[in-house]
């Protein structure tokens, strides 16, 4: 990407794209480039991009009261999903040409018809990601992704060849590597990039064509490496674990409270950007494997194998997060969940036990996805940080 397509460089550009989310796709639409809006990390972006669309991740907004969304969606849905829906109803994604929703959780899957009919995009599709992750489920999922590819191809009126798919597998893998290279800047103490800056950069990238997102991440990294005036001090190192965070406010709150957020197990975060897609003869094999097996979200059931102890089972389910905690030398973990999140909610006790077994103090927060809770959260976080110090 050159300066023809961006106004600034690095962090400033990330900030602009984060604040004015979707601006680049709107600009490209004037040149005939179409976009598909989506929710959740389980949507295979490689397929959407190979079909010629820009995948645009639908965001919520913690500062925006949910008003129009509640006309059609119950308040017992996950507040994050409700906020995403509310934003979409308010027209923030009306520049998009279609919608893709995966079977991620009840709050999205059980409301697919609501999204589809209310938003009324010219195209929509539900990706039926299985809950179980065995050989049969993988075969099923692969067939369902082929069905998605066929359906999207019909809408795009173009053939999505294996070569195109393979090309986007490569581009997205490269993109994920660049994100993880940004994460690596946080291994130092103090980290070179803050948690709030990371969220902005990552989220900004989710509104761009993948090549441009990769360029943006490169620029951010370059700027950070050359930054002389970073005000990041040595402070307790925190890992945030939870479902989806797409606003910088929570990270900023932790950092203002006297800590550095150095790593996460989140969407949008390492859960989403960490695992690459395996390069396979039929690209769909690698894609199906990534989105079913490698993205470690609690909505996918991981079986406790015969003969495994409870500790083995927890290690298999949460070991990757534990590895990150060690690699990034974290001092404490904040488990951050949204109200009404059944997939994560039922794991809270064991997740807490698991991190504590690694010698890490844990703060569990159940939140509403609203800036209105900042005051009470600040007190709790400060108290937690005092314990760590």
């Amino acid at each position: 990407m050159s300066n023809e397509t961006i106004n600034g460089r690095g962090l400033a550009e990330a900030e602009r794209l984060y604040r004015d989310y979707g601006i680049r796709a709107k600009k490209l639409k004037e040149q005939g480039q179409k976009s598909i809006a989506y929710v959740c990390a389980l949507v295979p972006l490689e397929i959407i991009a190979a079909a010629g669309f820009i995948p645009i991740r639908i965001r919520g907004d913690v500062n925006e009261p949910i008003t129009k969304g509640d006309i059609d969606l119950e308040t017992i849905a996950c507040p994050y999903a409700r906020s995403c829906f509310d934003n979409a109803v308010k027209g923030r994604y009306s520049f998009c040409d279609g919608l893709a929703i995966p079977h991620s959780c009840d709050s999205t899957a059980r409301t697919y018809s609501v999204w589809r009919y209310v938003l009324n995009f010219p195209y929509s599709h539900f990706i039926n990601t299985p809950h179980t992750a065995n050989t049969s489920a993988l075969e099923f999922f692969r067939a369902d992704l082929k069905n998605f590819l066929k359906s999207l191809g019909r809408f795009a009126r173009s053939e999505i060849t294996d070569a195109k798919l393979a090309r986007y597998v490569e581009l997205y893998n490269e993109n994920r590597k660049k994100v993880m290279a940004l994460y690596a800047l946080r291994k130092q103490d103090p980290p070179l990039i803050s948690g709030a800056e990371m969220v902005k950069a990552l989220v900004a990238g989710l509104s761009l064509p993948v090549e441009e997102a990769s360029d943006l991440y490169d620029q951010v990294r370059e700027e950070i490496l050359n930054r002389k005036d970073a005000a990041i001090k040595k402070l307790p190192r925190i890992m945030v674990v939870g479902s989806a965070i797409d606003n910088h406010d929570f990270m900023q709150l932790i950092e203002e409270s006297g800590a550095n957020v150095v790593v996460d197990d989140l969407c949008i975060g390492t859960r989403e950007f960490g695992p690459p897609t395996a390069v396979t003869d039929d690209p769909m094999d690698g894609i199906a494997d990534r989105y079913l097996n490698r993205i470690n979200c609690p909505r996918t059931y991981r079986e406790k194998k015969e003969g495994e102890t409870l500790e083995d089972d927890l290690a298999a389910r949460f070991g990757d997060a534990g590895k990150l905690a060690k690699e990034y030398a974290v001092d404490g973990v904040i488990l951050y969940m949204y109200k009404y999140c059944d997939p994560f909610g039922f794991e809270i006790p064991v997740r807490k036990t698991w991190f504590e077994s690694l010698g890490l103090p844990v703060l569990y927060i159940e939140d509403e996805y609203s800036a209105g809770t900042t005051g009470s959260l600040r007190t709790r976080i400060q108290a937690f940080l005092e314990v760590i110090e």
Binding site: I71, D72, L73, E74, I76, A77, C78, H103, C105, D106, S107, A109, R110, T111, Y112, S113, V114, Y117, V118, S124, H125, F126, N128, P130, H131, T132, N134, S136, A137, E139, F140, A143, D144, N147, S151, R154, F155, P298, R299, Y301, E303, K304, E306, T309, L310, D313, M337, K339, Y340, D342, P343, G345, F346, E347, I348, P349, V350, K352, Y364, E366
Partner: protein, 458 residues
Amino acid sequence: MADEQDAKKRRKATEAAGKIGGMVRAAIGGTIKAKQEGKKLAYAFISSSYDEIIRAMDIVPVWTENYAGICGVKRDVNRFLERAESLGLSRSLCTYALCGIGFDQMREELGEMPPNSPWGGQARPDMMLSSGQILCDPRNKWYQASQQFMPDVPIYNVGLPWPMYEDDVDVDDVADYYIKHIVKELRGLIAFLEKQTGKKMDYDRLSGIVALAEHTWDLIWETYEMRRATPTPMDTGDAMNTMVPMVFMMGTQEAYDFYLALKAELQDKIDRKEGVIEDEKYRLLWGGGLPSWFALNDFNYFNSKGAVFPAETTYRLVEPIERLNIPNTSDPVERLAWRWLRYWTYWYDKARKRPGSEPDVERLIQYIEDYKIDGIVMHEAFSCRTWHLGLIWQLNQLKKIYRPIPVLSLGKPARRENPSLILESDIIDMSSYSEVETRSKIDAFIETLESLKSNQIA
């Protein structure tokens, strides 16, 4: 205790519904006895397409959602919910699951049933059968959470997808890979059960049980269709009882016989023109959501206002077998897979014929027509996303696309209105329920119906 006695006093219109309490009590007691006799017990979820398989393997199902519901009816749920909460589980999660997990943890800690457990308690299982569907996240996570207190109890999670309703994808285009996967998941379950019990599946026996279950499906459908009669001989208050054999005893002779008796009873009432209430003024559709199990008396309150519920979408988990167009197969496992797929996609073709429609909305329209419905009541339980998301939209969409048969009105054809009421509380957690508030909402709703009816007459 006074509350409990009130709950017990709910007046039932049918004798059949009156027998259900005893049947459930016997079934729960039966699981405890079976455990003492050394039989294999499995924690299980309703509507998971494995009822016949469990029965054919002589495994005794322990329906954990049912037990949570019983705790709700008995108004003895708080101690289990609070225990779950003390373990770090949020009260905003599915309260059936919280109740079950709290109960399990208490039982495991004590080494015996918690004192005074409703109807003797929930027996410790030998295995747990999870259910990974589009339907319900807690069914995918509940037993995994319980396993931390029972690490020796293995889980088999049955993946049971069905295709979502799409404009550009026909069910037949994708049925092949859906069926292939569902069959493999069910065969995986059979292999798991064979291992747990040390005995082989008798496929002839399974075929017989599947056939019995399907006869029962048809019988239930025919029986429930009789409720179209005016006055209706049975309403949703009773159906929340008579669903028990449908969801917890499918594939047993007892379930079949129950509906045979119910059908005869309804026929007798229809012949004698005996309705749920004497003066039936308003016919309502229970259009979605599980009821508050501790407040089933609310149905009687509706009745006292002249309102009856001839139909409900909740717990009507059958369609006529012939209309499901299940391909010929001698393999009972394949048959179960096809029945599953066809049941969940049953309303798709009908929805395609009406612009802007959707299967759930189409089902509402069908019931409104068939059962001559004046209004719809739904329940929004705060803790259950499974059955309660999308209901508001369905009502909104219903208003947008439904063109009912016009009724005669002087001067111009009148559009029939479908007023709706959404009750808010929970399935078993009483803390969110206010009887006074609920009943004043019902009163206001009845007034709306009355006013509409008066306007129509005028």
